[in-house]
Amino acid sequence: MSKELFSQLLYLDCGGLLLSSVLMLWRRQLGALITMLTAQGLLLSCLATLLGTQVGGTELYVVAAGILVLKAGVLPTVLRRVLAESRTARETQPLVNVPASLLSAAVLTLVAYGVSQPLVELDPTPATHAAPVGIAMVLLGFFVLVTRRRALSQVAGFLLLDNGIAATAFLVTAGVPLIVELAVSMDLLLVVLILQVLTARLRAEFGDVDIDELRGLRDR
């Protein structure tokens, strides 16, 4: 694969990652958030495969397959099961409304580009030039986590944050060791399963999972 084709495909892939993160701030339907997470899992495994063609060796291909199974298969299935049991299918009344959050996403992306310039200058290769995309995904994941009310949206924000960390790791260091990736994936799966159980218990106890509604004490 030639250098130009590799850079073009890499930048298209990173553009897709950034676009799906932005769409997670835009869409209100919770099902659309899960679709975006699935798309990001696919794009991340494509990213790992692309980097594997440049670096050589089979480790990155195994990591790509693992990411495909976990982030594009298992986690969206678990989240869709949570969504199927919940009453409402859309995010209502986020703390920051949609136009303001889109404009904040623009500011956060510019911050990510500014902050990662010293990182890029350490080793200017095509992959590190796209590192700001990973940092922007981390910041956008924090933003979704902080400004959304529904538990499922907050879980989606947390997963976006983790996707951003994985993307940054791939772009800056050309892959993480297999054992680190396995450990992180195991932690992630445990967290999501615990959150699913917790959400189910919350709904059974209080009848809703709107975090703001859980402020008052209830007498049952």
């Binding site: 990173c14 992306t109 580009y113």
Partner: protein, 318 residues
């Protein structure tokens, strides 16, 4: 690349003629496509010109208490649009008004037209005019920065914001159109084209319910010659916006060298491109309903975000 004066004047005159004569035909084509897709026969390709000639025969009326703002607005809209039609690259990449072909000048001229329409709506003193004006200004306030930012993203690589240079650069290196910056700018500019031309999902051009009107509400009080000029102006703005989008992202066929053959080819390709983009827009409108007003700032904020991402990727991603 500068042409000799007669050829550049010929190119500009050809552009103006095509856009003035062809804009109502473009509106007719879009209405006909919508009609056929909805199972109706449609009114035919000459209907907008028939409407315009009927309106020109009628008496223009101004409401009580309206000032020169109301009567001057149609002239301002049509003249600013004619200036863009003469200056911007539609048939040829250079024109005798080369300084006016700058991106920022074209965006300002578009804004002059929008502001004139909004002020005329306010000047009528009626409730519907005021409502239409406030909605028009909401859309314009969010769409103009997106135009500027997305145009800036395209001009970073070229080093100049002259629209003719942008089209020539895109013709010379077609792979630049597939870069993330150009793709994001294309999406952002398409949303702005839909918003500025008042098409679905931002504004329904065929609505007759006053509470859903945006552009129609501001021209509700016009009659006769003024109404004909306003309708011609909005049709020309649609043709110009589609032509600019087509030439920035599908630049093949625009004349870069002077000569009768290249100008003729440029004219034919320009007409075909604008007609095709109009057909795509009309066909996509069949599947959409007008969005509620509070969702339109979301759409325009999203397109502004795409513009900002286009600028940052053109700076940071080579």
């Amino acid at each position: 690349m500068t042409w000799s004066i007669p050829w550049s004047v010929a190119g500009a005159a050809l552009q103006v003629l095509l856009i003035v004569a062809g804009a109502p035909v473009l509106v007719a084509v879009m209405r006909q496509v919508r009609a056929r897709l909805e199972g109706r026969a449609g009114a035919g390709l000459a209907q907008p010109w028939r409407d315009l000639s009927k309106q020109l025969r009628k008496e223009p009326i101004a409401p009580d208490g309206s000032t020169v703002v109301f009567t001057a607005a149609p002239a301002v809209v049509v003249s600013s649009t004619l200036l863009i039609a003469a200056a911007a690259p539609f048939v040829a990449t250079t024109s005798p008004l080369d300084r006016t072909a700058d991106l920022y000048a074209v965006v300002s001229l578009l804004l002059v037209g929008s502001v004139a329409v909004a002020l005329a709506g306010l000047d009528t003193g009626s409730a519907f005019g005021g409502m239409g004006s406030s909605r028009t200004m909401t859309v314009a306030a969010l769409a103009e920065p997106t135009l500027l930012v997305a145009g800036f993203a395209l001009s970073v690589r070229v080093g100049s914001s002259n629209l003719g240079s942008l089209v020539e650069h895109a013709q010379r290196s077609p792979s630049a159109i597939l870069s993330p910056a150009a793709l994001l700018a294309a999406v952002a500019l398409w949303i702005v084209v839909v918003a500025e031309a008042g098409r679905l999902p931002v504004d329904n051009p065929a609505t007759h319910l006053e509470l859903t009107m945006m552009h129609e509400a501001t021209i509700l009080e016009y009659a006769g010659r003024d109404l004909a000029l306003m309708e011609l102006g909005s049709a020309m703005r649609l043709a110009i916006l589609l032509g600019l989008w087509g030439n920035l992202f599908l630049p093949w066929g625009v004349a870069t060298a002077a000569g009768p053959a290249t100008l003729a080819l440029g004219a034919v390709v320009c007409v075909v491109k604008i007609a095709l983009l109009g057909v795509v827009l009309a066909a996509s409108e069949v599947f959409m309903a007008k969005w509620r007003l509070f969702r339109i700032p979301e759409l325009l904020a999203g397109s502004f975000l795409f513009g900002v991402l286009a600028v940052s990727s053109s700076f940071f991603l080579a």
